[in-house]
């Protein structure tokens, strides 16, 4: 078909370029050899591979054979006169190659293989090592060569090449049946042949990147592999053969192992199939949310493992047990209530004095038998988790950098991209396809309208005023939310001193923060209506504001807590004095009771020791409560906001006045950006 031939021509050219890229000298001399090979072909027709070599060397001198392919009209080239022929054949090289391509297209496998074999044979005559040779040998050996291009054994290959050169003659002799020609081969030719082998190997490695038909690829692959195989086979003889063969086998095994490992790894990725289902139903952007979630899950798992393994476990295994020192035990006053469920829910009671919180950990330098430096490990784990997160994030960003950064100029190819990249090929569901068609149509219509509107020029001043007003309102609300948080934190401090708290008051802080996160974004959206921006720009503003809201909340929260810390530090000082005083009293009592001033009293029962508040624990408790309440709020929102809404809409629709599905509380859309921000917010809390 005309089309295919054009493609083949293009591809043929590509083949040429690829091959000639690796080395030009090789090409020229290759043409040389091709002629010889052509003659070999002409003479031999369907000769086997082994024969090919012999034929070549034999016919080297003959030089008067009619060339077989259309392009092989050249006069014979003596091997000795390689240089001259190279100049002549340089022009022919491209033609020959194209002929080669044409031949391949016709499926002239035999031709190709013979040609390659002849080249192969020449290549074996030793070569000044090009480093590429090493690579190609390697790939050839591992026929299952990964495209990932493992260059192992490159050094091995260089060694082999040197060895090969030493036994050049012997290998030549063993390969071909005619000795004279082989010995007279110059080093240059051998080098060239080696380079050809390298090219073949490179081709094998990259063959799947070429836009060719599968059949062509398979053919080429087979030829290239056989070519390289022969090459190796020759090398295998002579001295050092065993070592060489061993190395070859090891490389093959290694590459196969790596491939298996990759296969296995891809099988292990959790949730792969579920995500695929989601993808086909809803498109790839929704799936990307879940992929992001999965990635974060993995990262959190690692961080958790780090902390848990290096800090918690040593403490549990080797630290002092519960109840031994004052820090670790529930004060006597609280012991009655320490196990109540409600107290536990608030993370007081037993939870407070457990491994969960910072206050539990001792300040000894080393703990247990192994002298594990616990405080040091805590510090290192902290630094380590931070460093790890940073590295992972940067690495992922770098990986994704080429997959379209979002910073391209917006106007550049809008319509073209819309046309060529808007259809999501992953859609496998008729309903989604309908939706996609509709959205594409709408998007095109919008862009058209945009284009037409861009000509118009509205009242700039009114716009500006409205925008300033909107921004002012939003800044006010941001400030208001920050202040609210601060206020609530301060209030919770007061609450801490009182005991008769209602449930609301105890959890006020968390409730307020979650509510803020729920209420403010829609508020921002409504205010943003004033601004009258292009939808995409409006979305950016919206996201930026939500981001500022969340960040502001977190930071105010932190600052308010730290204020508390200062207060607590003062308290601690006072308590320390008080506890020393109490200790003295205890001793005094004890000795008085025993009437024996010399006896050393046993240490005070730890439960009795007065203890100051541990600010780290308090802060920790606050954060944990916040995380938990956030989770609860999220569940509730999803349950009510989306699920219940959907159920109501679907069932009530039959008996309601207006069309519920299209009108007010329609099905909740999957708000990707909102959810992603929520994820980031949670992670920040962690």
């Amino acid at each position: 078909m005309p089309r295919r031939s054009t493609a083949a021509e293009e591809v043929g050219i590509e083949i040429d370029e690829d091959v000639s890229d690796s080395d030009d000298g090789g090409n020229r001399r290759r043409a040389n050899r091709k002629q010889a090979g052509g003659r070999g072909r002409g003479g031999g027709g369907a000769k086997g591979r082994g024969r090919g070599k012999k034929a070549d060397s034999d016919e080297e001198d003959e030089e008067d054979e009619a060339p077989r392919g259309a392009n092989r009209r050249r006069p014979a080239n003596k091997r000795g006169g390689g240089k001259n022929n190279d100049d002549d054949s340089e022009d022919e090289a491209p033609k020959k190659k194209r002929g080669g391509a044409a031949n391949r297209k016709k499926g002239g496998k035999a031709q190709e293989s013979e040609e390659d074999d002849s080249d192969d044979e020449k290549g074996k005559k030793g070569k000044k090592g090009g480093k590429k040779g090493g690579k190609e040998e390697d790939n050839g050996k591992g026929k299952k060569g990964d495209v990932k291009g493992k260059d192992k054994g490159k050094d091995k290959d260089d060694d082999k090449k040197k060895k090969k050169k030493k036994k050049d003659d012997s290998s030549s002799d063993s390969n071909s049946n005619s000795d004279e020609e082989e010995e007279s081969m110059s080093e240059g030719e051998m080098a060239r042949l080696m380079e050809e082998v390298e090219e073949k190997k490179k081709l094998i490695a990259n063959i799947r990147n070429k836009p060719w038909r599968m059949k062509r690829r398979l053919t080429l692959l087979k030829e290239a592999q056989q070519f390289v195989d022969k090459f190796e086979g020759a090398l295998g003889k002579g001295k050092g053969r065993k070592w060489y063969a061993y190395k070859v086998m090891m490389t093959k095994k290694w590459i196969k192992f790596q491939r298996d490992f990759e296969n296995f790894k891809t099988a292990c990725i959790p949730w792969e199939r579920k995500i695929k289902e989601v993808e086909s139903h809803f498109g790839s952007s929704v799936a990307s949310y879940f992929i992001f979630l999965r990635w974060m899950y993995g990262m959190n798992l690692v961080l958790f493992g780090l902390t848990f393994g290096l800090v918690v476990i040593p403490e549990v295994l080797m630290g002092l047990p519960y109840g031994s020192i004052p820090r670790k035990t529930v004060p006597r006053a609280e012991q009655d209530t320490a196990q109540d469920y409600s107290v536990l829910m608030d993370f007081n009671g037993y939870c407070k004095y457990s491994v969960l919180f910072y206050g539990y950990y001792n300040n000894q330098r080393t703990v247990g038998l192994l002298k594990f430096r616990l405080p040091l490990s805590y510090l290192m784990v902290g630094i380590g988790s931070f460093g790890y997160s940073l590295m992972v994030v940067i690495r992922t960003m770098a990986n994704n950098a080429d997959v379209g950064g979002g910073d391209g100029e917006e106007g550049e190819f809008t319509f073209a991209w819309k046309m060529f990249t808007s259809w999501d090929y992953l859609i496998g569901n008729a309903e989604t396809a309908d939706n996609k068609y509709a959205s594409i149509t709408t998007s095109f219509k919008e862009s058209i309208v945009d284009e037409q509107e861009n000509q118009k020029d509205e009242n700039i001043h009114l716009r500006r005023f409205l925008r300033v007003l909107a921004n002012f309102l939003i800044t006010c609300s941001l400030g208001g939310s920050g202040y609210l948080i601060y206020f609530v934190v301060k209030r919770s401090q007061e609450f801490a001193t009182r005991d008769d708290l209602s449930w609301y008051e105890k959890n006020e802080l968390e409730i307020v923060m979650s509510l803020l996160g729920l209420v403010c974004p829609p508020l921002f959206e409504t205010i943003a209506e004033l601004e009258d921006y292009h939808p995409r720009i409006a979305l950016k503003w919206q996201l930026g504001r939500i981001f500022a809201l969340f960040l502001g909340n977190l930071y105010t929260f932190l600052f308010a807590l730290f204020d508390e810390v200062n207060d607590k530090l003062e308290e601690e000082q006072a308590i320390m004095n008080a506890s020393i005083w109490a200790m003295k009293e205890y001793y005094a009592n004890y000795s008085r009771l025993l009437n024996d001033t010399d006896a050393t009293p046993p240490p005070m029962n730890p439960a009795d020791v007065i203890r100051g508040p541990c600010w780290e624990t308090a802060v920790g408790i606050e954060f944990v409560k916040l995380t938990i309440s956030d989770i609860q709020v999220t569940y509730l929102t999803i349950l009510i906001g989306d699920f219940a809404r959907a159920v109501i809409v679907r069932f009530l629709n039959y008996c309601w006045c207006w069309d519920l599905e299209a009108g007010f509380p329609s099905y909740g859309e999957f708000d990707i950006s909102g959810n992603v921000l929520g994820l980031a917010f949670n992670q920040g809390m962690i």
């Binding site: 990147n209 087979k222 296969n263 379209g404 319509f415 992953l426 569901n429």
Partner: protein
């Protein structure tokens, strides 16, 4: 890995692994998908490379493709006879190019061929119009279609010859942020 399958020789499987972006398991899975389209036509033994072609209707009815407006073009581009009738080789080729691991250039090359409806190695105005109509299922008016096609031509045609060559197309698509994620079929 278990070597118990008898559909392909080991060399064939290895060769397929080298020529596509698929692993051994995936290649076997794809073979079964291919066979499921027409069990009576596709033999279970491919060691001597039987020449079996599945007609376009079967290919176009695959769940991954049936909702795609360009499925006919895709099948035509990847089939040997240009009519959409695909052998197993073509089938593997198609899904390999459309898979996640194919590089951008390769995908851009084939995307160009897919959108070139009249196979003249250029995307001209009529190709654009056909693409647009397939994308919107003919819901835009003639004027709108014309306007969009003109805009696209303005944006992407660098050598100003009134049609998009492969270079123009590649230049434009390489900057597209979501080309790789949309031009992707998972199977």
């Amino acid at each position: 890995m278990g070597n118990k399958q008898t559909i392909f020789t080991a060399q064939q499987l290895d060769a397929y692994q080298d020529c596509t972006y698929f692993t051994r398991k995936e290649i076997l899975r794809l073979f079964y998908r291919y066979r499921d389209l027409a069990p009576q036509l596709v033999p279970l033994d491919y060691t001597n490379q039987p020449d079996v072609k599945l007609p376009y209707e079967l290919i176009g009815s695959m769940p991954e493709l049936k909702d795609n407006p360009f499925r006919q073009r895709i099948a035509e581009v990847f089939s040997e006879d240009g009519e959409g009738n695909m052998t197993l080789d073509n089938f593997l080729d198609m899904f390999s190019v459309l898979s996640e691991m194919a590089p951008r250039d390769l995908k851009a090359y084939y995307a160009f061929k897919i959108y070139d409806f009249n196979n003249d190695d250029f995307i001209c105005k009529s190709d654009l119009e056909k693409t647009l109509n397939k994308l919107t299922r003919n819901e835009l008016t003639e004027d709108e279609v014309k306007m969009v096609c003109e805009k696209v031509m303005d944006e992407a045609d660098l050598d100003n010859d009134g049609r998009l060559s492969l270079e123009d197309f590649q230049h434009m698509i390489n900057r597209a942020p979501d080309f790789l994620s949309t031009f992707h079929i998972r199977i």
